[in-house]
Subunit: 135 residues, 2 copies
DNA sequence: CTCAGTGCAAACTATTTGCAGATTT
DNA sequence: AAATCTGCAAATAGTTTGCACTGAG
């Protein structure tokens, strides 16, 4: 339930926050820029500000509801935190984003960190790929 | 030899370009923001513009002399391309950047790409870590 | 001498912040 | 009603671009 998540994060249940959460939860698409969320919500029914979208996404990120990624696009990309960690393939032709998870890579990273005297806190693995067959 | 690299890239041998290349080649430090390069060169002897630093670095990147990375810092980080691919550990305490290379991870990435119908074009693996012992 | 290259200031993009009014509880 | 939240406009940070002048070949 959406509302519970917001309550737990100490956030009031406001229209912008509900609209953004619903969009993230109910869309086919899973990855959004702040701008694209703004566009979609404006189209639906206007009266929301881009600054609010950023503010809400930042609050959601702090609450652990949302993850923020930096791909090469320049803009931040946001996605709902569904609790299952994954990394990303970016199709450089289409811009599509595919999620994947590989436990061996995860373990290797922790080992490498340890070898260097570190503990892995967070990581970002992005593979930029092009479709196989053609060209 | 520096000058050869520039010639091959079709770039005139100018003072800003030489100064930046030398800095990248002869520094203990390997990773620089554009701003920090600008600061260092200004301190040494003024009369260089930040815009030029950006322009030169972008040209170097296009020529394959330099790589540009996006860490969480917000600023781009540049390093000389020494021909040996590596990934990065960012020490979140100190901001230090450590390079590492793991062939197994490299191979796994290509395999994963293939499994998803892609060919790996480029990738970015950054591990954010904290020193082990001390909490 | 010519054209690429440079410094400076202005422009741009993505994101954040200040504030007065609107909303939630 | 009190406190949080929002939209708007203005501010910021990092980077890029326009332009007249400088310097490399």
């Amino acid at each position: 339930m959406d509302k519970k998540d917001l309550k737990e994060a100490g956030l009031k249940i406001t229209q912008p926050r509900m609209r953004i959460l619903e969009l993230l939860e109910n869309s086919e698409q899973r990855h959004f820029s702040a701008e694209s969320i703004y566009q979609i919500l404006m189209e639906d029914s206007p009266g929301i500000g881009l600054a609010t979208v950023y503010r809400v996404l930042t609050q959601f990120e702090a609450a652990g509801l949302v993850e923020r990624h930096q791909f090469e696009s320049g803009q931040s990309v946001f996605e709902l935190n569904r609790g299952e960690h994954h990394d990303h393939i970016v199709d450089v032709k289409s811009g599509n984003i595919i999620e994947f998870h590989d436990e061996i890579i995860e373990v290797l990273q922790r080992e490498i960190a340890k070898e260097h005297g570190f503990e892995l806190v967070d990581h970002s693995l992005i593979m930029y790929c092009k479709p196989l067959e053609q060209e």
